[in-house]
């Protein structure tokens, strides 16, 4: 049973994990993007549609990322270009994404795809207990796990990473170095949108193998919250995402065990857990918030 929950944690947590890694890049550059929800939906539909048309899930995943990126372009233009309120703009993109995908998605509701399926890694997947949990997943999941150290390296060990983080902390420094902080921010938002779209595509192509209206059900918002929970550290965001995934996986397990817990409380649980996680780390993290982001979250003018 515990193995089931842990396997499920990785399975259903991966989409949130990808989105939260993307959001992490964006927030490190000082832009919070609640439109992540919209980007995930766009990615889920775009990825699914392309997989239906071409039969190739890799093309689908790429298209999903592209769709997520396109929606985040709106965020970049409005927030970085026009100085619009980040939180309100993110919400607008979330609504827009819901409307857009339910409009264009109605033709795909009953479509079927092969998509990505679990590929057990030889030898490793035979290890009792651990093998099934860690080494029997779809290719996108393996990729997402590799992505986490890659993003960590990019952010904390490369020049590019310093530029991104500086955009979120002290944009004057970038300015003084002859770099355009707005351009860097916009790129960070777009990278975040791509990964959110990829996460959405993972959800539709690899996890559920279907498209359902509004299928992300708040996973994008959770991804944003998890980044804050993670104190803007990639590895902790990964942990948070799997925690959310485990809370989701609990639903199936409880149903299988036949325990008398109302499914509605189980549905609520992942969101409440996210809130509790946020509350738990809140006190310790203030100094770690990227400065530009701190202003947005506190609601100060000029964010």
């Amino acid at each position: 049973m515990i193995a089931d929950i842990l396997t499920g944690a990785v399975r259903s947590g991966t989409s949130v994990m990808l989105a939260s890694q993307g959001e992490l890049i964006s927030e490190r550059a000082g832009v919070i993007n609640l439109g992540t929800e919209g980007s995930m939906l766009a990615g889920a539909l775009g990825g699914f549609a392309v997989t239906v048309w071409t039969g190739n899930p890799w093309l689908g995943a790429l298209a999903g990322g592209g769709c997520g990126l396109l929606l985040s372009l709106l965020h970049a233009v409005l927030v970085v270009g026009f100085g619009a309120n980040q939180l309100a703009t993110g919400l607008a993109i979330m609504f827009f994404g819901i409307g857009l995908t339910s409009f264009f998605g109605r033709d795909f509701v009953s479509s079927q795809i092969v998509g990505f399926n679990p590929v057990p890694i030889p030898l490793l997947s035979d290890i009792p207990f651990v093998g099934g949990i860690l080494f029997n997943h779809d290719p996108l999941t393996y990729l997402s796990v590799l992505l986490v150290p890659a993003i960590w390296y990019l952010l904390f060990r490369t020049r590019l990473g310093i530029m991104v983080r500086t955009a979120g902390e002290r944009e004057d420094v970038l300015f003084a170095s002859g770099l355009n902080p707005r351009l860097i921010r916009a790129c960070a938002v777009l990278a975040g949108g791509f990964l959110a779209g990829l996460g959405g595509a993972q959800l539709s192509i690899a996890y559920t193998h279907s498209w359902v209206e509004n299928m992300t059900a708040g996973r994008g918002v959770v991804a944003v919250a998890l980044v804050i929970f993670a104190s803007w550290k990639p590895q902790r965001a990964m942990l948070g995402a799997y925690l959310f995934g485990a809370a989701q996986a609990l639903q199936l397990t409880v149903q299988q065990q036949g325990w008398a817990i109302s499914p509605f409380f189980l549905f609520m649980f992942p969101y409440l857990l996210t809130l509790a996680a946020l509350l738990l780390v809140e006190r310790r993290k203030l100094s770690r918030t990227p400065e530009a982001l701190g202003r947005v979250l506190a609601g100060d003018p000029g964010g």
């Binding site: 609640l34 709106l74 939180l87 609504f95 409009f103 109605r106 509605f264 609520m268 506190a298 609601g299």
Partner: protein, 354 residues
């Protein structure tokens, strides 16, 4: 203090050419609202729908007869209240989208009290009691956001969206469980409330007095914001938090009560949905009304009275969405694309006078 049409600006910048300035601001806002309609028209053309015909029929069905007008007002009523639930915190500098969940919990409380406790009461006491129950439910949900904001220092936007999902599941639990109608043949909805608890209806329409309640609350919110000391303090807090801090305002307390008041208002919207239209609680009662209210508030630049107008426009668009679905086979969700476009132009057009 004069009526100030620009919420994001600290204070009226003196009286110089105020009339011209106001005219310019109105024109600009009108343009920002007109462009999305034009773009959506192009979108409709691409799908073989004549936008002029649709917009035309939208106007005719709204203003053509009393029934159509009533239908639009009926749709607009919850948008006014959930819009206030977004606009009032926005005046204090908060981005609150909790209206969705607060409406749901308000509807839950209203239905709960209506079904179990208020059925035998005469209308003149039963309806106000049910209204209070709805307000209480919404306020409790607002309390959660307020506590997380003030005590937990969590950003209200993120918590309110997360709690919206929780609220939907909470209502789901009740209509599938303790509040389920025993005679419903397993459909998930509550028993019907007593006829005495239904809001009175205007002759010749389906419109109920809920719209009057919503308009009155909008007027009260406007009065408090524009004409009282409390409202002035809220607006100072919203336009410059540091100034409010320096002036010795107790910011946490103001955030706290503003969020709770917003919750209560959205909760009343939930009660009106139950007592005015549905008569019973369903899992889908008021779905998306909170988000549409947020949109209405943004379209009105968070001005409580202009909100009446924008909620009306959104009501027209919602009715038009149904027309679109019946007339041309495009799904009603097509109009959410229009609503999204409207939002983007408002957000992009907001930077000014910097």
């Amino acid at each position: 203090m004069s009526l100030n049409p620009s919420p994001s600006v600290a204070a009226p910048a003196g009286a110089r050419s105020a009339a011209a300035k106001r005219l310019l601001s109105w024109l600009r806002q009108l343009l920002v609202l007109a462009i999305p309609f034009a773009l959506f028209g192009l979108f409709l053309l691409a799908y073989g729908v004549d936008p002029l015909e649709l917009y035309g029929s939208m106007l005719v069905s709204t203003f053509g007869d009393l029934y159509g007008f009533g239908e639009v007002l009926l749709k607009a009523t919850p948008f006014v209240l959930t819009g206030l639930a977004a606009a009032l915190p926005a005046k204090a500098g908060l981005v609150n989208v909790g209206g969705e969940g607060q409406l749901a919990v308000g509807a839950l409380f209203a239905a709960w009290f209506g079904v179990f406790y208020l059925g035998g009461l005469p209308a003149w006491i039963g309806i106000p009691a049910m209204l209070l129950a709805g307000a209480l439910g919404g306020a409790l949900w607002g309390l959660a956001i307020a506590l997380l904001k003030v005590k937990g220092r969590l950003n209200e936007t993120i918590t309110s969206v997360l709690l919206n999902y929780v609220a939907v599941f909470l209502v789901g639990f009740f209509v599938h469980g303790p509040l389920k109608d025993p005679e419903s043949f397993n459909w998930p909805f509550s028993p019907e409330i007593a006829p005495t608890l239904r809001l009175p209806i205007f002759d010749g329409t389906r419109l109920h007095v809920g719209f009057v309640i919503a308009a009155a609350i909008a007027a009260i919110v406007w009065f408090v914001l524009a004409r009282t000391r409390l409202g002035y303090r809220i607006r100072v807090l919203g336009s410059n938090r540091l100034a409010a801090e320096r002036a010795g305002m107790r910011i946490g307390r103001m955030y706290f009560w503003v969020l709770i008041a917003a919750g209560a208002i959205a909760g009343i919207a939930g009660m009106i949905e139950i007592a005015g239209i549905e008569g019973r609680l369903r899992a889908t009662t008021g779905a998306n009304f909170g988000y549409l209210g947020f949109l209405a508030a943004m379209m009105a630049w968070n001005h409580p009275l202009r909100l009446l107008l924008t909620a009306f426009v959104l009501g027209m668009i919602s009715v038009a969405g149904n027309t679109l679905e019946i007339g041309s086979g495009l799904p009603a969700s097509a109009v959410t694309i229009l609503m999204g476009l409207v939002l983007f132009f408002i957000l992009g057009g907001k930077r000014r006078r910097g």
